[in-house]
């Protein structure tokens, strides 16, 4: 084990290393401790001393430092979460914010749990493993709730598509997301891939996992029952990732990347797959009273959270922890973020059966401690007491900051700088938008993901939402969409967050589902910058207000701060996941056009709104003005209308309008199965094709009158656009785009940038090619 800057070793007394025990700490108040190196401020260190009534031991200091890091304690962001907590109660919400993931009732006794989490900084340092372990971590959160994980999604953002560092990180990140999820047998059903200069040097990797269980199967992370055993199971503990996620995610990178370079974790999806099957068998046999995954802050987090959520205390004998490296110190064992580990609370009478299930699945399982009376978390090492703390102070007693906030000085200027509003060449602009890296065909990425495994994927990328069947008899299903738009949030974080929510909501609705609940991942710059903090607070307030208006609960999420290179923060990037339910998945509505002669209708109203649009960005390299006006009642009306039309089978297809406006949407619908259309557009053609006005969808039907009647009843404006058919997209008297030309432009972009998958020779440097 090489010495690590953030790993405190044993203390030196008179030049002789001596184990730092509670006893020793009580008598050596003046020993200097490397709290600053561990990321703690002087007043935080002082507070730990006050809590304990003495200085912390080396091991205690390690625990507090990782648990009080920004990543684990949410010390800058937590005060703003009251907006979510203030949302009105929802009948559908079975478990809310505060657990590993929220749980939602989807009917027929089924419950669904879902959550999105970031792994931005680790993926920058080691793209493949960073992204892979990001997927692994979120899957364990879902498993911990008692659910079988059934699908993943990924939202990815990179710097300019042609930047050298994008070529370094993108292939590895995509391969890592795929490598881990594919090997776990989880279909990838959707996500995002976007490019913007602001993410150069700080790509965003947000992964979502969704799981399904019966209502009665919900598990919680708590240690209860005097004498119950604490069982650590899964991979051995090693020296990888000590202080990794927590420290890495709580720090700004300069141009050279992170100052401290923590050992990176290597994921082992095979072990995680065994862990999943073992856990599900353990749950089915009712062998645990509480369970927690080990993620950021490892054992420090799992033991202190389990103990603080329970009724008693906990004692752990650290010598029993199976190690991969016998030279690890106690503090290192407590801080290690080795992957693929779980911690369970098991009644003594059930321990043997628990261990037998683990043996069946080749999963290493070890009793490392037990639930005690009293209210202390105590840990022994080599026969000495090295930790004796009130667990709540470690898990939840972290500092709470009210960081200063100021509206960005450049915001007025930015909002006043409206983009151009008229296209000089509609045809050229159309091709430019759909062949831009953001608008282009994403199959270079999505073909690296298994979408079929488990046999319940009804819709997956490039559809608007991923749709899964959860019951083969009743055909009950769920829909999920994950969306963000950093440009809108940059121009107005409050409205931008709501626009992101509206887009995810709309995506779920147009697939025929009824939106039910929300998760989110807040990706922002440094909270120490008051302008960033203002953006964050505004986005949280906006998301909460949006959820209130739509009647949706926020079930959980994740905050990733310090996303910036040097002094330059990324665009504020809330990534919002919306979950919906379909009573019958056979009624799902796909985006693609299949048949000739169907009527193409536009639902909703279009204005000349170009602020933050893809068209302004691609064609004019312009970011300014105001984002499109929000209209949540119109979103609800549209969602309700499509829900009705889906149920009675009136729609052949529906596709929401978002980035790139109508041009992007009809391109995707036409190319899905190679069916063109003849359209007639009136009025302002630039707006008609490229504006990003909200609450709109393009649908096709053989019964336009039925759609018109239902739309009139729902108060949704309808415009007839034309008829499907032919091998071109034609806008009468304006332009004619043969599908072959359109497809060539749309599908060539990513292979040209990242290597044609047909070529025998890849572009990935060998160091990033996994050896499997």
């Amino acid at each position: 084990m090489t010495a690590h800057p953030t790993s405190p070793g044993t203390s030196q007394v008179g030049g002789v290393p001596q184990l730092d025990t509670v006893e020793l700490a009580a008598t050596t108040a003046d020993t200097e401790q490397p709290y600053a190196e561990l990321g703690l401020r002087p007043e935080e260190y002082q507070e730990i001393r006050e809590i304990l009534g003495r200085r912390p031991t080396t091991a205690e200091l390690a625990m507090y430092s990782v648990m009080w890091s920004e990543h684990c304690s949410y010390k800058s962001s937590r005060v703003h979460f009251r907006h979510f907590a203030d949302l009105p109660a929802s009948d559908a919400l079975l478990v809310g914010i505060g657990e590993n993931a929220g749980v939602v009732d989807v009917g027929d006794g089924y419950a669904v749990t879902f959550k999105v989490e970031s792994h931005n900084h680790p993926s920058y340092v080691e793209p493949y493993q960073g992204a892979a372990t990001g997927v692994g971590g979120i899957v364990r959160d879902i498993l911990t709730m008692g659910a079988r994980p059934v699908a993943v999604m990924d939202s990815l953002r990179f710097g300019a598509a042609d930047a050298p560092d994008t070529a370094r990180v993108l292939p590895g990140i995509v391969a890592g997301v795929g490598g881990y999820g594919n090997c776990l047998g989880l279909p990838n059903i959707g996500g995002e891939l976007l490019f913007d200069d602001c993410y150069l040097g700080n790509p965003l990797v947000n992964a979502l996992c969704v799981g399904v269980m019966r209502h009665g199967d919900i598990r919680l992370a708590k240690a209860e029952g005097l004498g119950n055993k604490v069982v650590l199971f899964g991979a051995r503990t090693g020296g990888d990732g000590i202080g990794g996620v927590s420290v890495l995610a709580s720090e700004t990178f300069d141009a050279e990347g992170p100052a401290k370079r923590p050992a990176v974790q290597v994921g082992d999806p095979f072990t995680e797959k065994l862990l999943i099957e073992a856990c599900l068998e353990i749950f089915a046999a009712d062998l645990v009273t509480g369970i927690q995954d080990l993620g950021g802050a490892g054992l420090s987090c799992a033991t202190s959270e389990l103990a603080s959520a329970g009724t008693g205390g906990m004692h752990v004998d650290l010598d029993t922890v199976p190690l991969r490296d016998s030279t690890l110190t106690a503090a290192e064992i407590l801080m290690s973020e080795s992957q693929e580990r779980m911690c369970a609370i098991v009644e003594p009478a059930k321990v043997e059966e628990f261990l037998a299930v683990c043996r069946k699945w080749d999963v290493l399982a070890t009793v490392i401690g037990e639930v005690t009376d009293g209210d202390r978390l105590t840990i022994d090492w080599h026969g000495e007491r090295i930790v004796d703390v009130p667990p709540r102070t470690v898990a939840h007693g972290g500092p709470l900051y009210h960081r200063p906030m100021t509206r960005p000085a450049d915001l007025d200027g930015l909002q006043a700088d409206a983009p151009p509003s008229s296209s000089a060449d509609l045809r050229a602009d159309w091709l430019a938008v759909v062949s831009s890296p953001d608008g282009a065909d994403k199959s270079w990425v999505t073909e690296q993901y298994d979408r079929y495994v488990r046999g319940n994927t009804v819709l997956a990328q490039p559809e608007d939402a991923g749709v899964l069947r959860i019951d083969e008899q009743t055909h009950r299903g769920i829909a999920l969409s994950l969306d963000g738009n950093g440009r809108f949030a940059r121009l107005d974080p409050y409205t931008g967050a709501q626009l992101n929510l509206a887009e995810a909501y709309r995506n779920v609705a147009v697939s025929g589902a009824r939106p039910l609940a929300v998760t989110n991942c807040m990706n922002f710059g440094s909270p120490e910058n008051p302008e960033v903090m203002w953006q964050f607070a505004e986005a949280v307030r906006g998301l909460a207000d949006g959820c209130r208006a739509l009647g949706l609960p926020v079930t959980g999420g994740n905050v990733s701060l310090y996303n910036q290179t040097g002094d330059t923060a990324i665009n504020p990037t809330p990534v919002i996941g919306v979950l919906g339910v379909l009573d019958d998945v056979r009624r799902r509505v796909p985006t693609g056009w299949r048949a000739d002669g169907e009527t193409v209708l536009l639902l909703g109203e279009t204005g000349a709104e170009f602020g933050g649009s893809a068209w302004a960005s691609v064609v004019h390299r312009h970011l300014g003005g105001l984002p499109p006006a929000l209209d949540l009642p119109a979103e609800q009306a549209l969602a309700g209308l499509i829900g009705t039309l889906a149920t009675d089978g009136t729609l052949s297809s529906a596709h929401d309008l978002a980035d790139g406006g109508l041009a992007q949407a009809v391109t995707e619908s036409a190319l899905r199965h190679g069916t063109g259309a003849r359209l007639r557009l009136t009025g302002d053609l630039t707006a008609a094709l490229f504006a990003e006005s909200v609450a709109r969808a393009v649908v096709t039907t053989t019964r336009p009158d039925a759609v018109r009647a239902a739309a009139a009843a729902a108060g949704v404006p309808v415009t007839e656009l034309g008829v499907t058919g032919g091998d071109a997209l034609v806008v009468e008297d304006v332009l004619d785009l043969p599908l072959a030309e359109l497809r060539a432009a749309w599908s060539a972009t990513l292979p040209a940038l990242f290597g044609s998958p047909e070529a025998a020779v890849g572009t990935v440097p060998a160091g990033t090619v996994p050896t499997s």
Partner: protein
């Protein structure tokens, strides 16, 4: 503890896209002097007691390598 090294390489007639990819990258990065790259696997085994050469050869040839496509080089501690 005795260490045994086993290198597994693809038979010459089996194409090696990973080696090809590395070679291509080397060319692009300005190392034209490298004219061929083949990628194989490298195993380091620790063995208790005296390694049994026959047993290790069998492990190398039947488990660590697939004789249909791969060749093996065994390096015993005495080598």
């Amino acid at each position: 503890m005795p260490r045994v090294v086993v290198d597994v390489v693809l038979k010459p007639e089996i194409s090696d896209p990973q080696g090809q990819a590395v070679l291509g990258a080397l060319g692009r990065l300005g190392h034209p002097g490298v004219t061929s790259v083949r990628q194989g696997k490298h195993f380091v085994l620790e063995v208790e007691g005296t390694p049994d050469a026959a047993e290790l050869r069998q492990i190398a040839e039947t488990l660590l390598a697939n004789p249909v496509i791969e060749d093996v080089e065994l390096h015993l501690p005495s080598d």
